[in-house]
C-alpha cells in the first residue's frame, strides 16, 4: 500500500512541526538544566572563594599586628620593664582592628601585659602581671577610648601564668608565628583563635611571646550576610570536624559535661542539612579536601547542591563548605521551563493544526483530481468535463491522462469491433471460474447458444471434458502454457457435435497476474469432414491397390489375352478351311488345327470364368459428384506435384452426377495425374502444368488429363500390359485404368495434346437421374 499524498502532507506539515518543537523544547530543557546546575555550582564556588577571601582578609590584620608587636618587642621598643609603653602600643593596635578581642605579651620571666575590650567600667581593660623577685602582682586598669583611666584595682586572686598556656609553648617551641585551633574565649565566651609570635633574643633565645586574640564570630556574621540562593548556607569546618563558623552563631557552641564551652562537631551539628552534606568529610579525622568539590545530594526529598573548598592554608586548616537547595536556582527556570513547554505544546498544536489545514488545502485539488479520475475510469464522468482549478502539474497529468483515455477508448472500440465483427468465434473467459465474460455473435452462432445463456456458462459446458484447453481455462496450472491451440469436438445447444479449432491465450498484466483468457473458436466441421472423406478415399485407394491390383491385373490380363486368343482361334479355323480342299493334307494337321481352335476357345472360357469371379469383388456403381471426387483426388497427389513444382489446373463445365464405382474412378484419376506429374517433371525449365478438363458429352462425362510434358513416344504401344517407359513400373497402370473405365461403362484413350504433351481421356456414365 502506497502512502497517500494527504497522509504524507499531514505528517510532513503537522508531524514534523510537532517533532521540531519537541526537539527544541527537549534540547533547551537539557541545556538549561545543565546551565542551571553549572550556575549553582559556580555560585557556591564563588561563595567558597569569597568566604576564603573574607576570612583571610579578616585574619590578616591580626597577623600584621602580632608580627608588628613582636618586631617592636624584639627591637626593645617594648621592654618588659616598661609595661605601660607596651600597654599603649597594644591599645593602639586593638583600636585599629575591631575583630581583635585583645593583644598581649608574655615574657619568659612571667610578666604579662594584656589589653582587651571590656564590658566593665570602661570599654577597654588592661591587665598587668608583674613578677619581681618571685613576687607577682596583678593590676587591672579600665580605660576609655582616649586611653584615660576609668578605674584601677588590684587582683590578688589571679594565678594566671602565660608561660603554661598552649599558645605560648607552641610559639616558643616552633620559634615562629602560630595559630591556635579555634576555641571559645573564656572571657567573652565568643569563638575565636589566637595568633602567637615569638619575640626573639639573639639568635636562638626567646624573650617572650606576643599574641592577638581574634573573635571569629564575625566570620559567622559575614556568612549570615551572604546570599546563597534563598535557603543556601555556607559554613567553615575545622579539620578536626568542629564547625567554627555558621550563619547561626548559636549553633556553634556546645557545653561539655564539665561545663566548659566548645565547638559543635559537624557530625553532631544542629543543622541537619549541613550534617547530611558534610559529616562524612571528617570521617578520617581530617577534612581531606584538596580541591574544590562540587556535589549533589538529596535531603528530605529535596535536591541540594554543595561545594567544599580546599583548606585555606596549612596554618588555617579550615574548609569552607556551602550548600543550597537546587530549587533556589532552578525553580524560576523550572517554572519558566514548564511555561515554555506549555507554550511549545500550544505552538506545536497550533502549527500542527495549521499544518493539517495547509495539508488539507494542498491535498484538496489532488483528492478532487483523484476522485475525478476514479469517476472517469468507472465511466460515471465524461473525460471532456472541464478540470476543476488545480495545479499545473496535475493539469499536465490530466492532459496526458485524457490522451491516454482517448487512445485507450479508441483501442477498446477497435478491439470491441474486431471482437464483435470477427468472422471467428471469440470469447473472453474469466481465469478462475472459467466462465464466459464476453462472447461475440459468431461464437453464439457456432455454439447455438444466445449471449445471455453463454455468460453463465463455462467452456466445459459446451465441450468434451477430456480436451486439453480446460487445463488452461480452469487456471489449474502455471503460466508456462499461456497459449493453447487445439482441435476438439464441441456440443452445440441442439446436441449436434461439431469440430472446432480452439485457440486460447491467457492474458496477463505486468505483474504476471492472469486477467482473462481470450478464446478464438472456428467451426472446422466441414473441413474436418472433407479431410475425413479424403483420408477415407486414400484408405480405400490403398486398399484397392493392395487387394485388387492382382484382381485388376487379372481383369486387364483377361481382356488383353482375349485378343490374341481370338486371333488364334480364327487363324486355326481358317487354316482348317484352307486344308479342306487339299486331299493330300495330313489328317493329323486337321486335328492339330482343330485342337488349336478348341484350346484357344477353352482359354477364352477360362478367362471368362476368371473375369466372372473377379467381377464379384467389384464395388457397386453409385451416383456421385465427380467435381468433389476430382477435388479430393487432387489433394492426394498435390504433394507430389509440389515436389516437382507442377501445377494442377482444372477447367470444369457444368457436370451431372456421375454413375460409376467411385473408388475405381479415383484410382484412374490418381494414376493419370501421377503419370502427368511425372511427365511434366521432365520439363527443363518450362512451366510444369497439368490440366484436368471435364464436361458433359451426351449421357456421359468426358474427362481429359492433359500435360505439357514431352508427350508419348509414337513407338510405344499404350494400354498394353507389361509395356512401360518407367524404370520401376510394371506397365500395368494404363491397362488397368482402361480396364476399370471399361468395366464402368466408359472408354479410356490417349491423344496428343496441342502443347506437345500427352492427353488421356476417359468417359464415365452420367447418372440416369440427371
Amino acid at each position: 500500500m502506497r502512502n497517500s499524498l494527504g497522509l504524507l502532507l499531514a505528517i510532513g506539515l503537522a508531524g514534523l512541526q510537532f517533532v521540531a518543537v519537541l526537539a527544541v523544547v527537549f534540547s533547551s530543557y537539557v541545556t538549561s538544566e545543565r546551565a542551571l546546575l553549572d550556575h549553582a555550582r559556580s555560585l557556591l564556588s564563588d561563595v567558597g572563594t569569597n568566604t576564603i577571601a573574607h576570612s583571610t582578609g579578616f585574619l590578616r590584620p591580626a597577623r600584621a599586628a602580632a608580627e608588628l608587636s613582636a618586631r617592636l618587642a624584639q627591637t626593645d621598643v617594648i621592654a618588659s620593664d616598661r609595661p605601660e609603653l607596651l600597654e599603649k602600643l597594644l591599645f593602639q593596635q586593638l583600636q585599629l582592628a575591631p575583630q581583635f578581642a585583645g593583644l598581649f605579651y608574655g615574657s619568659e620571666g612571667g610578666d604579662f601585659v594584656y589589653v582587651m575590650r571590656s564590658d566593665g567600667p570602661g570599654p577597654f581593660r588592661s591587665k598587668f602581671i608583674r613578677v619581681q623577685d618571685g613576687v607577682r602582682s596583678t593590676e587591672l586598669i579600665w580605660r576609655n577610648d582616649a586611653f584615660e583611666v576609668v578605674e584601677r584595682r588590684m587582683d590578688p586572686e589571679d594565678t594566671y601564668d602565660p608561660r603554661v598556656r598552649p599558645w605560648y609553648q607552641r610559639a616558643r617551641d616552633q620559634r615562629t608565628t602560630i595559630w591556635t585551633d579555634p576555641y571559645i574565649f573564656f572571657t567573652s565566651q565568643q569563638p575565636g583563635i589566637t595568633l602567637a609570635s615569638p619575640v626573639m633574643s639573639g639568635v636562638d633565645g626567646i624573650r617572650g611571646i606576643v599574641g592577638v586574640d581574634i573573635e571569629i564570630s564575625d566570620i559567622s556574621d559575614f556568612l549570615a550576610q551572604l546570599e546563597i540562593g534563598s535557603h543556601g548556607k555556607a559554613l567553615i569546618i575545622h579539620d578536626n570536624g568542629d564547625v567554627i563558623a555558621h550563619p547561626n552563631k548559636d549553633l556553634l557552641k556546645t557545653t561539655d559535661e564539665d561545663g566548659t564551652l566548645r565547638f559543635a562537631n559537624i557530625r553532631t551539628f544542629d543543622d541537619p542539612i549541613a550534617q547530611a552534606a558534610f559529616s562524612q568529610l571528617t570521617q578520617d579525622g581530617k577534612v581531606p579536601v584538596a580541591r574544590e568539590t562540587l556535589s549533589q545530594f538529596e535531603y528530605n526529598g529535596e535536591t541540594y547542591v554543595s561545594v567544599v573548598m580546599p583548606v585555606m592554608s596549612e596554618k588555617l586548616p579550615w574548609t569552607i563548605a556551602a550548600y543550597a537547595p537546587e530549587n533556589d536556582f532552578t525553580s524560576e527556570i523550572k517554572l519558566n521551563r514548564r511555561m515554555n513547554i506549555w507554550i511549545a505544546a500550544l505552538v506545536a498544536a497550533t502549527t500542527g493544526l495549521a499544518g493539517l489545514a495547509l495539508a488539507q488545502f494542498i491535498y484538496k485539488p489532488v483528492r478532487a483530481f483523484a476522485v475525478r479520475s476514479a469517476l472517469i475510469s468507472q465511466g460515471e464522468l465524461d473525460p471532456e468535463e472541464p478540470l476543476p482549478k488545480t495545479y499545473q502539474e496535475l493539469e499536465n497529468a490530466n492532459a496526458m491522462l485524457m490522451e491516454q483515455i482517448a487512445a485507450r477508448r479508441e483501442t477498446e472500440l477497435e478491439y470491441g469491433q474486431t471482437f464483435a465483427l470477427s468472422s471467428r468465434g471469440m470469447a473472453q473467459v474469466a481465469p478462475e471460474s472459467g466462465q464466459f465474460i464476453r462472447v461475440n455473435d459468431r461464437f453464439c452462432e457456432i455454439t447455438g447458444y444466445s449471449p445471455s445463456e453463454l455468460l453463465g456458462m463455462t467452456f466445459t459446458d459446451i465441450c468434451y471434458r477430456e480436451e486439453a484447453p480446460f487445463l488452461l481455462l480452469d487456471g489449474q496450472h502455471g503460466a508456462e502454457t499461456s497459449e493453447i491451440n487445439h482441435e476438439m469436438r464441441c456440443r452445440r445447444k441442439d446436441g449436434e457435435t461439431i469440430w472446432t479449432a480452439v485457440n486460447a491465450i491467457m492474458i496477463h498484466n505486468q505483474e504476471g497476474k492472469a486477467l482473462h483468457v481470450v478464446l478464438t473458436l472456428d467451426d472446422i466441421t466441414l473441413t474436418k469432414r472433407k479431410e475425413e472423406k479424403i483420408s477415407q478415399l486414400n484408405k480405400d485407394l490403398s486398399n484397392l491397390s493392395r487387394d485388387n491390383t492382382m484382381g485388376q491385373m487379372a481383369a486387364g490380363l483377361a481382356h488383353e489375352l482375349n485378343q490374341p486368343l481370338t486371333a488364334i482361334a480364327q487363324n486355326a479355323d481358317t487354316a482348317l478351311l484352307m486344308i479342306k480342299g487339299v486331299p493330300e493334307a495330313d489328317p493329323e494337321l486337321r486335328q492339330v488345327l482343330d485342337e488349336i481352335e478348341e484350346q484357344s476357345l477353352r482359354a477364352g472360357e477360362i478367362i471368362r470364368a476368371l473375369r466372372a469371379f473377379i467381377r464379384k469383388d467389384e464395388g457397386t456403381r453409385t451416383d456421385f459428384d465427380f467435381v468433389e471426387l476430382l477435388d479430393q483426388t487432387k489433394r492426394l497427389v498435390i504433394a507430389e506435384a509440389h515436389e516437382v513444382g507442377a501445377e494442377i489446373a482444372t477447367e470444369l463445365g457444368h457436370l451431372p452426377q456421375a454413375n460409376a464405382n467411385r473408388v475405381q474412378v479415383a484410382q484412374v484419376l490418381v494414376n493419370l495425374l501421377r503419370n502427368a506429374i511425372e511427365a511434366v517433371a521432365e520439363n527443363p525449365g518450362k512451366d510444369r502444368l497439368v490440366t484436368v478438363h471435364a464436361r458433359q458429352r451426351g449421357p456421359q462425362i468426358l474427362v481429359c488429363v492433359t500435360d505439357n510434358g514431352p508427350g508419348v513416344d509414337p513407338d510405344l504401344t499404350l494400354f498394353t500390359q507389361f509395356e512401360t517407359t518407367k524404370p520401376g513400373g510394371m506397365g500395368l497402370g494404363l491397362s488397368i485404368c482402361r480396364a476399370i473405365v471399361q468395366e464402368n461403362g466408359g472408354q479410356l484413350w490417349h491423344e496428343p495434346a496441342e502443347t506437345g504433351g500427352a492427353r488421356f481421356c476417359f468417359t464415365l456414365d452420367a447418372s440416369a437421374d440427371a
Binding site: N562, Q563, L565, A567
Partner: protein
C-alpha cells in the same frame, strides 16, 4: 453363297484381330475391308454400300456404340455384329436395342461368326433393297401435282371413302375432275387400283425417315 456387292467391314483397334478375321472371311469368299478405328470407318464409308460391320465394342475415342448410333442416324444399309473382349450384359443390351445383329464375346467360333455375318449381310441387303424400293416409290409419288397429292392423301387417310363423289365433296370439286385426277394418279404411280395405291403408300411410309428402322 455370298454376293459380291455386299462387304464385310471389320472395325477393331487390334491388328491381330483384324488380320485373322480378314483372312478367315476372305477365305470363305467374303469381301472384307478393315479399319483400325470407328472414325476411320466413318471417314471412308459412303453411306450407300450395303454390308456387315464386325465392330469391336470397346475402342478408344469413338466406341462401337457411338458408331452404331451414327450409322443408324444416317439410315445406312448396314448390319452390325459386335465383338467384345469383355462383354457385359448391360452393354450387350444397349447394342441389341440399337439394332445389332448379335453381341459376340471374344474368343468365338468362326462358324458362329460366319453364320452371323451371313445373316447380317442378308439383313443388310434387305435394308438396301427396301431403301431402293422406297426410293422408287418416292420417285413415283414425286411425279404427282399438288392437287393429285391432295387426293392421294385423302385416299390414304380415309381409305373407306375413296369414291370420286366422296373425294369431290371433301375437296369441293366435281366428281368428274376427281375421276380425271384418279386416272392420272394411277398412271403416275404405276398401280392399277386404289387398293394397290394404298399398299404402295404404306410401303413408302415404312421407309420414310423418322420411323423405326426395325427388322
Amino acid at each position: 453363297m455370298s454376293d459380291t456387292d455386299a462387304v464385310v467391314f471389320i472395325v477393331d483397334d487390334d491388328k491381330d484381330i483384324r488380320t485373322s478375321l480378314t483372312r478367315a472371311l476372305r477365305t470363305r469368299g467374303f469381301t472384307v475391308q478393315t479399319f483400325d478405328s470407328a472414325q476411320a470407318f466413318l471417314d471412308a464409308y459412303d453411306g450407300e454400300q450395303p454390308g456387315c460391320v464386325v465392330l469391336d465394342f470397346g475402342m478408344p475415342m469413338m466406341s462401337g456404340l457411338d458408331l452404331q448410333e451414327h450409322l443408324n442416324a444416317k439410315r445406312c444399309p448396314l448390319a452390325i455384329i459386335f465383338i467384345t473382349g469383355h462383354g457385359g450384359v448391360p452393354e450387350s443390351v444397349l447394342a441389341m436395342k440399337a439394332g445389332a445383329v448379335d453381341f459376340l464375346e471374344k474368343p468365338f467360333r468362326q462358324a458362329v461368326l460366319v453364320d452371323l455375318v451371313e445373316t447380317a449381310l442378308d439383313l443388310s441387303r434387305e435394308k438396301y433393297e427396301a431403301r431402293e424400293r422406297s426410293r422408287g416409290i418416292k420417285l413415283r409419288f414425286d411425279r404427282l401435282t399438288a392437287r393429285e397429292e391432295e387426293i392421294v392423301a385423302r385416299m390414304i387417310s380415309n381409305p373407306a371413302e375413296v369414291s370420286s363423289k366422296e373425294i369431290g365433296n371433301y375437296l369441293g370439286i366435281s366428281p368428274r375432275t376427281v375421276d380425271h385426277h384418279r386416272a392420272r394418279i394411277l398412271e403416275k404411280l404405276e398401280v392399277s387400283s386404289v387398293v394397290e395405291l394404298i399398299d404402295l403408300a404404306s410401303k413408302l411410309k415404312e421407309a420414310t425417315p423418322g420411323d423405326s428402322p426395325n427388322r
